[in-house]
């Protein structure tokens, strides 16, 4: 344990400052190679705090920004823990994955800034600092998503950026309301009521975009796969959890019973769990499947928050369960993403065996197989689901198993998509990818057990009846996946056409992309790196409508600015004035 308060304070500052310093250092060409090697270590202060520091430390810096407060609480420690582990693994992995990439430095600058933002929002004790960190993380993660410049990536990153900006504006508006309503910028002073319903709604929606809540989730299956693998891992593993943390910090959970909020959270959560499971199993890209699985899992976590909103008295027990589930999902999802690289490029019997084992383990955990972190997480959260009000119990009873079956099927789908050795896969170097990946797989094995209470949940699960409860969705999911494979092969259908990645977002996203894109870009220059993506008819129509609007506005302004208009306006004004004066 680190007991010296001075050390804890410096670590709290270092958590944010170290990645910033590393990002700044990348501007100097001479130290770049060293910084790229050392980048993973900039997440170490976060890990040190998570593992060894006592909760409750506070640092106040009155002259910084809007009176910055950094603090470490129980929730923050858990978040710092899994976030730190993921960034260490992702940065380590990225260095090797992007070796030789001409823009690796840009990637790392964005990664390190996003890391600083991600840590910053976890330790932020005041609203402006939280928002600043949140916004920096969002913007820089867009830089990670748009790493490549092919058309598909561009569409995805435009959508991601648009949604991120909308989310940030909504969040900021909600937080401004909270500040005015509560007359404080300190997060700890918010609880205890005083938030208006509209503020709650804005917080719910704003962070919901980040967390991939139902109807706001559609960017996620498009953006996460567009990013390079290590970026997908942090996006799906930790950044969507920032939305969750936003909810935990700013929703009136545990203060008073908020049935409307609870119902909204549960409905959106169950809906996301169901939709994620259904849309995920048919996808053809393993990263898209994993992204849908994230939508599904975040939905289950949301359901937990919803119960907390309905039953404030139970929130102190629900929160640890939520934290266990979050940690479990972050680590397992990160491991699965990172595994795609080594698994799809594995050669030789030994590598193939390791790759298979390394993918199967986190997949089993996510599916909730007995004795894994997933089993614990599910038991912990489900024990609270029973305390739901009447009308919801059946919905939960029906939908949660479906989500579990769907998750299993999705995991099998991912495994079949990357199952090594793949004859069709282009062989790529997996040098240096194994160690960070396997380290993360190791973290999946031990991570959750470090959280308080997790072992109790494990023991509870060991009775035969409970084991059956955990096993049947696994078996059902397996059967479903097998049947699906069979159908796919027999009828040579491509189910991913039934539900395109991004589902409802394909339409909405097309519209957003139109609005966000650069208007009036003249015809593409030779070499053709202009926007030349295949547009649907709707998109083209929207495009020309928006452009017509812009041109029309310009013409209108021209005509209003003419001398005759000005003369008439002046005449009218003078006439009115004269009338007033001689009246």
């Amino acid at each position: 344990m680190i007991s010296n308060p001075q050390t804890v304070s410096s670590l709290l500052v270092a958590v944010v400052v170290l990645p910033l310093v590393a990002a700044a250092a990348l501007a100097a060409p001479r130290v770049r190679p060293a910084v790229l090697v050392l980048a993973p270590f900039s997440a170490l202060p976060a890990l040190a705090l998570a593992l060894f520091a006592p909760s409750g430390s506070v640092v106040e810096i009155p002259w910084l920004f809007k009176h910055t407060i950094l603090l470490l609480d129980d929730t923050g420690r858990v978040f710092l823990g899994f976030t730190g582990v993921l960034y260490v693994a992702a940065a380590w992995y990225a260095r090797n994955y992007l070796r030789g990439d001409p823009v690796i430095v840009r990637f790392f600058i964005f990664l390190l800034l996003a890391m600083a933002g991600n840590f910053g929002l976890i330790v932020a004790g005041d609203i402006p600092t939280f928002f600043a960190a949140f916004a920096v993380m969002g913007l820089c993660s867009a830089g990670l998503v748009s790493h490549r410049i092919d058309d598909e990536t561009r569409r995805a990153s435009r959508l991601y950026l648009a949604l991120t900006m909308i989310g940030e504006v909504v969040v900021l508006t909600g937080l401004s309301l909270l500040i005015v309503d509560n007359e404080t910028t300190v997060i700890a002073e918010l609880h205890g009521g005083g938030s208006s319903p509209i503020a709650t709604l804005l917080v719910l929606v704003g962070f919901g975009i980040k967390a991939g809540a139902l109807t706001l989730h559609f960017w996620l299956p498009l953006a996460h796969p567009a990013a390079p693998i290590p970026a997908s891992a942090v996006l799906s593993g930790t950044m969507i959890k920032a939305g969750l943390l936003g909810w935990i910090r700013f929703l009136p959970l545990g203060d008073s019973a908020e049935p409307a909020l609870g119902v909204a959270l549960i409905a959106a959560g169950l809906g996301a769990a169901l939709l994620g499971a259904i849309a995920g199993v048919v996808q053809a890209n393993p990263k898209t499947v994993l992204a849908y699985s994230s939508v599904c899992q975040m939905g289950i976590i949301m359901t937990g928050l919803g119960i907390g909103a309905i039953r404030p008295d139970a929130w102190p027990e629900i929160l640890p369960a939520v934290l266990i589930y979050t940690t479990h999902h972050a680590l397992a999802k990160g491991a699965l993403f990172l595994g795609i690289g080594p698994a799809s490029g594995a050669v030789g019997r030994r590598e193939v065996l390791i790759a298979r084992l390394g993918m199967v383990f986190p997949a089993l955990a996510l599916a909730g197989a007995p004795l894994t972190s997933g089993a614990v997480a599910k038991t912990a959260l489900k024990s609270h689901l029973v305390s739901l009000p009447e009308g919801w119990a059946w919905a939960v009873g029906l939908l949660v198993p479906i989500a579990a079956i769907g998750t299993t099927a999705m995991m099998i789908r991912v495994l079949t998509l990357v199952w090594p050795p793949r004859p069709d896969a282009e062989k790529h170097s997996t040098d240096g990818l194994w160690a960070p990946w396997l380290a993360l797989v190791g973290a999946v094995a031990v991570g959750v057990w470090m959280l308080p209470g997790s072992l109790d949940w494990l023991l509870m699960k060991l009775s035969p009846g409970k084991i059956w409860l955990a096993l049947w969705p696994l078996l059902a999911g397996g059967a479903l996946a097998a049947a699906g494979n069979r159908i796919r092969r027999l009828w040579t259908v491509d189910p991913s056409r039934w539900i395109p990645p991004g589902d409802i977002g394909v339409l909405v996203g097309g519209f957003m992309a139109r609005v966000v894109r650069d208007h009036r870009s003249p015809s593409p220059p030779e070499g053709g790196h202009e926007y030349c993506d295949e547009s649907t008819e709707v998109e083209t129509a929207l495009d020309s409508a928006v452009d017509r609007f812009g041109r029309g506005l310009g013409r209108l302004e021209e005509s209003l600015a003419s001398w005759s208009t000005a003369g008439v306006a002046l005449g009218v004004a003078l006439g009115l004035l004269g009338w007033y004066l001689i009246r």
Binding site: L161, G527, G550, G554
Partner: protein
């Protein structure tokens, strides 16, 4: 001569005298001209520092003489003046440095720098004016001294833009004269006074005062580019980059916005204005301008034109903050006077660098420019992100206070305007950033010049780097005692009674 007179005159004359001398220099007296320019700029900053310390210590500065019976020219320094005068003198220094680098080898530099200095003299005059008449005089001088700068290039396009500029600003100036005369005929000579200078006439002539207010707004709205009086600004972008910086950040647009601030707080007084019910229409007009300017910016491919419409939008934040009753909104508006200045000047400096170094004038030519000119583009990025309101940059601080102020004043529609504006800002700035950092550069730039060691001439590179740093510092250290926010807090404190 007392020290107070000396400081006030020093601030005015440090640019007036150098400017007057520069007119008579030969074109080839490059060093002397640059030396005079920079010496004047540094001297002015020194005087402003003395003024700042004096005002902080509670010293009063005044200087007045009677020009004609009943017409008193008076200079003074209250918290508002100090804010504006520090902003314009510091930015003038950077603009001068930039202009020297920018206009190297171009003809008629003596004429240019002469008017350049007169322009800033008028601006500090506007800042230091202690009564309405003095304000009016310097306001008109500004119009006259800026015109030669707008048409400096002498091209047909520049002359056309100059004509439009004159038509708008002289019209506005005439209206201002009319408004001043009308107001003084009712209320007597107006000396700027915190919390209002109208006295008893408020009770006796409420309707006329309401009318006069809007005549003032119509007059000041020209320079502060309130829609529908903004038409001159996007056209004036044909002027050289340092002039654009001057128009958009240091002098002209700022003078209009500052005039509105003066009108609301120190002529009418915010409480009186609220009683008369004139604030709401002004706020609506400002809100409309904010959204309209952003929408128009979205459709511009010419970089400077996009920035110009962005100015139309951003300057109205100041007006909006002024038009919402409540100290928090006031704080947001006043602090944006400074924040908009440093952000927009950074953007124009960078735009000028692209034009001078690579011949880039259009957004669609900016692909991959970040790798060719990383420092300039970094500065541009900071300015653009600040404009969007990304924390912890300066623009975020303004927006945070404007939002809170609007909510506290019960005007939630303003929050929607601000949210829409942030999104629109993002929609017209982020694609530029994407192009410059992510897309591959073309094989050849439109008109590239080589500057050896640095990506461009050092005199062009340093100013945007400094102002970009200021954008970062003003945000990151917003709550320190030296930030623009701290000073705006003093002003806001004084404009609302206990």
């Amino acid at each position: 001569m007392t020290s107070s007179t000396f400081v006030l005159l020093g601030i005015l004359l440090s640019s007036f005298i150098t400017g007057s001398v520069i007119f008579f220099l030969r074109e080839d007296q490059h060093r002397l001209r640059t030396g005079l320019n920079l010496a004047g700029a540094v001297l002015k900053i020194l005087f402003v520092v003395v003024l700042l310390r004096g005002v902080l210590a509670g010293q009063t500065f005044d200087l007045s003489f009677t020009m004609a019976p009943g017409v008193v020219v008076a200079l003074g320094a209250d918290a508002n003046s100090v804010l504006f005068v520090s902003l314009s003198s510091v930015l003038w220094f950077f603009t001068t440095l930039y202009a020297v680098g920018y206009l190297e080898d171009s003809p008629r530099r003596s004429r240019f720098f002469g008017f350049f200095s007169l322009c800033v003299t008028s601006t500090v005059g506007i800042a230091l004016a202690a009564n309405l008449v003095t304000f009016l005089i310097f306001y008109e001088l500004l119009t006259i001294s800026t015109f030669p700068l707008v048409v400096h290039r002498g091209t047909r396009k520049a002359l056309a833009a100059g004509r439009v500029y004159l038509a708008y600003t002289v019209g506005g100036g005439t209206l201002l004269l009319f408004a001043v005369a009308w107001l003084q005929s009712i209320s007597g000579p107006i000396t700027f006074t915190e919390r209002g200078a109208l006295g008893e006439s408020v009770a006796s002539h409420p309707t006329q005062l309401t009318l006069i207010f809007f005549v003032f707004i119509a007059a000041l709205g020209v320079k502060s580019a309130l829609v529908p009086l903004h038409g001159w600004l996007p056209r004036a972008m044909v002027a050289p980059a340092p002039v654009s910086a001057l128009l958009h950040a240091v002098a002209v647009v700022k003078a209009g916005a500052f005039g509105i601030v003066r009108l609301v707080y120190d002529v009418y007084g915010i409480e009186t204005a609220e009683q008369l019910g004139v604030l709401r229409p002004l706020a609506v007009l400002a809100g409309f301008t904010i959204v309209y300017g952003s929408v128009r910016a979205l459709f511009q491919d010419d970089l400077k034109k996009r920035l110009a419409f962005s100015t139309v939008s951003q300057v109205s934040y100041i007006t909006l903050g002024t038009a919402i009753f409540g100290p928090v909104a006031t704080l947001g508006g006043i602090v944006h006077l400074v924040h908009q200045g440093i952000m927009k000047i950074t953007l124009f400096f960078a735009a000028g660098n692209y034009a001078e170094t690579l011949g880039i004038h259009r957004v669609s030519e900016m692909n991959g420019v970040g790798r060719r000119m990383p420092w300039t583009t970094a500065a541009f990025t900071v300015g653009a992100l600040g404009m969007i309101g990304i924390p912890p940059l300066a623009g975020f601080v303004s927006k945070l206070y404007l939002k809170q102020g609007a909510i506290a004043a019960g005007q939630s529609w303003v929050v929607l305007v601000l949210a829409a504006s942030s999104l629109l800002n993002a929609a017209y700035f982020l694609p530029i950033l994407y192009r410059s950092w992510f897309l591959p550069a073309p094989e050849a730039w439109p008109n590239a010049r080589d500057f050896g060691r640095f990506e461009t001439h050092w005199m062009l590179l340093l100013p945007p780097l400094f102002t970009a740093a200021a954008v970062v510092l003003a945000g990151v250290f917003a709550d320190s005692n030296l930030s623009p926010l701290a000073w705006a807090r003093i002003i806001a404190g004084r404009e609302y009674g206990p």
